[in-house]
């Protein structure tokens, strides 16, 4: 049994790590801090976290956030709705189709399966700019540019990273279960829905979660495909808010940023375990 003792090395390391942690949170703290200040105090050279007087924090915050939410040209409520529509359709498609493809690549034996898997993995290396122009041309032919469709339809064709991750997960499910199900008269579809999906809920949740974050963050996609302000997503809306004619005051810009960031941070706090486990799993399989 070891007794607790003071170790100078550990203490120094802990302090250093806390300092680093502070450096990483500081930009977000400053964002929130600026977002609750009056414009004059935001644009000042003094470093202070709360507005002066501190008692004005809440009313000032309410004023700033209301101003952002009800801005007449940049309609954040609408952009939130658009983002959620894309996110729902896209997450559903990505999770389902990646799972189906991963099932085919892990539980069914067929000629060319290995080659197909290799091609799927290779697509992870293709930079998006290579696909950008032709996808734009294709969606133009389809008449989809300017609508939300280009942002969620491709998700229904799976994503290489997710297929890869789910395939690894499915491989870990005992084959005997399939055989038992087959004896009970189930086909592939039955096995997929009644055995694989229920057993893979944690992995599917990670795929859904990551894809949700991806959609929420995506900037270049909406920038290319969306042409009307009414169809913008939050990421694009924030950029519009920043760049619109006549400088947007910093305090309002930070309030808008906070609104875009906050849902993801909350999602992280609620689901922290899944995020970290998922990332460790993805990165380690190289």
């Amino acid at each position: 049994m070891k007794k607790w003792e003071f170790k100078p090395g550990v203490a120094v390391l802990s302090v250093a790590m806390l300092a680093i942690a502070l450096a990483f949170v500081m930009p977000l703290l400053w964002m929130i801090s600026t977002s609750v200040k009056p414009e004059k105090q935001a644009a000042s050279q003094a470093i202070r976290l709360l507005p002066d007087p501190a008692s004005s924090t809440l009313p000032q915050a309410a004023e700033n956030y209301t101003a952002v939410w009800h801005d007449s040209t940049v309609q954040f409520p609408l952009y939130l709705r658009n983002t959620l529509i894309v996110a729902m359709l896209s997450v559903a498609g990505m999770t389902l189709s990646s799972a189906v493809v991963a099932y085919g690549l892990s539980r069914i034996r067929w000629k060319g399966r290995g080659a197909m898997f290799a091609i799927t993995l290779a697509t992870m290396m293709i930079p998006f700019p290579v696909l950008m122009v032709p996808l734009f041309a294709i969606f133009k032919q389809l008449g989809w540019n300017g609508t939300l469709a280009p942002l969620w339809v491709p998700a229904w064709f799976g994503g290489a990273f997710n297929i890869f991750m789910l395939r690894q997960f499915f491989m870990g499910i005992p084959k005997e279960l399939d055989e038992a199900a087959r004896i009970d008269g189930m086909g592939h579809w039955g096995i997929f829905w009644r055995i694989i999906v229920p057993l893979s809920k944690p992995a599917l949740a990670v795929v859904a979660l990551f894809h949700f974050v991806y959609v929420w963050n995506d900037f270049i996609g909406p920038l290319i495909y969306l042409h009307h302000r009414d169809t913008y997503t939050l990421a694009l809306g924030l950029q519009l808010y920043q760049s619109q004619a006549g400088q947007t005051p910093w305090n309002l810009l930070m309030a808008a940023s906070t609104l875009v960031v906050l849902p993801l941070v909350l999602l992280f706090i609620v689901t922290q375990g899944s995020f970290v486990r998922g990332i460790s799993a993805e990165g380690l399989k190289g």
Partner: protein, 272 residues
């Protein structure tokens, strides 16, 4: 698949044509590639992107590894610190860029306010030529949390007996990092460096927001994908942009292959 292989083929075809989207493509052979060689903006974007990659990739990898090793021990504050480092990776790139454009603001930004507090006069980061890439590096380092988490998990998988044996042999902490930890996790490092390289060469949203304002473009902040985007969607030169895209693809493939090849001597794969 349809959304990757078909577009790739189309992209290669477009790159050999003159194509404005309004009319059908006109075959020009290698014309676009020849024009690129004489395009100073193209070379500027190549230079900026490579400079950024050469600074950022080693810095990010070294910092992630150091943080991972420090946090993989049993520090009481470890979990808290890890969460703080991870949260920025959730912040949308646009929001990151907007927040950092505020932090890096020459006059009122927090960074320069901090520098002033210790008696230094900070540069005007985003509009200066010399400080544009460093600013982007700092911003990007802020989002390395995913790698740190991956490396922590990798470090945890290194068998404790190896460390024990090395300690008995009298190896220092630094010695154990380079001769035990690093070789054992080298496959993970290689994989993550490759992914990081591919992503870094495509950097777009952050410099687009940081360095392109209504006052114009900071030339030190023109990156490859931004120039490609401009050609495609601002100047409607789809063929020209596709040629740029294919050069990018080939460079990525060569770099990836080169890294695999060069790493054969360093990367240690455990017998499964």
């Amino acid at each position: 698949m349809v959304f990757v292989l078909l577009p790739m083929g189309l992209s290669l075809y477009f790159s050999l044509t003159d194509y404005s989207l309004l009319e059908s493509p006109v075959w020009v052979g290698a014309g676009n590639y020849r024009r690129l060689m004489d395009d100073p903006r193209f070379w500027l974007s190549v230079r900026n992107t490579l400079l950024f990659a050469f600074v950022f990739i080693p810095a990010a990898t070294a910092l992630s590894l150091v943080l991972a090793v420090a946090l993989s021990g049993r520090l009481r504050v470890g979990k808290l610190v890890q969460a703080c480092i991870f949260i920025p990776t959730l912040v949308p790139m646009v929001a990151t860029a907007v927040v950092f454009s505020w932090l890096f603001n020459g006059e009122y930004g927090l960074v320069n306010a901090g520098l002033r507090a210790i008696g230094l006069e900070g540069p005007s980061w985003l509009t200066s030529r010399a400080w544009a890439v460093p600013a982007l590096v700092l911003l990007s380092l802020w989002s390395i949390g995913q790698q740190v988490v991956v490396y922590i998990a990798a470090v945890h998988e290194v068998p404790a007996e190896l460390h024990e044996a090395a300690r008995l042999d009298g190896m220092s902490v630094v010695g154990r990092f380079f001769r035990v930890t690093l070789p054992m996790i080298s496959p993970v490092v290689l994989f993550n460096v490759i992914v990081l390289t591919i992503n870094t060469l495509q950097v777009f949203a952050q410099p687009y927001i940081l360095f392109r304002t209504k006052d114009g473009q900071n030339d030190a902040g023109l990156f490859y994908t931004m120039h490609l985007y401009d050609n495609a969607f601002v100047y409607q030169q789809m063929g020209y942009a596709s040629a740029m895209a294919w050069i990018q693809l080939v460079v990525v493939l060569i770099l990836t292959a080169a890294m695999w090849w060069a790493s054969r001597r360093f990367v240690h794969y455990r017998a499964a």
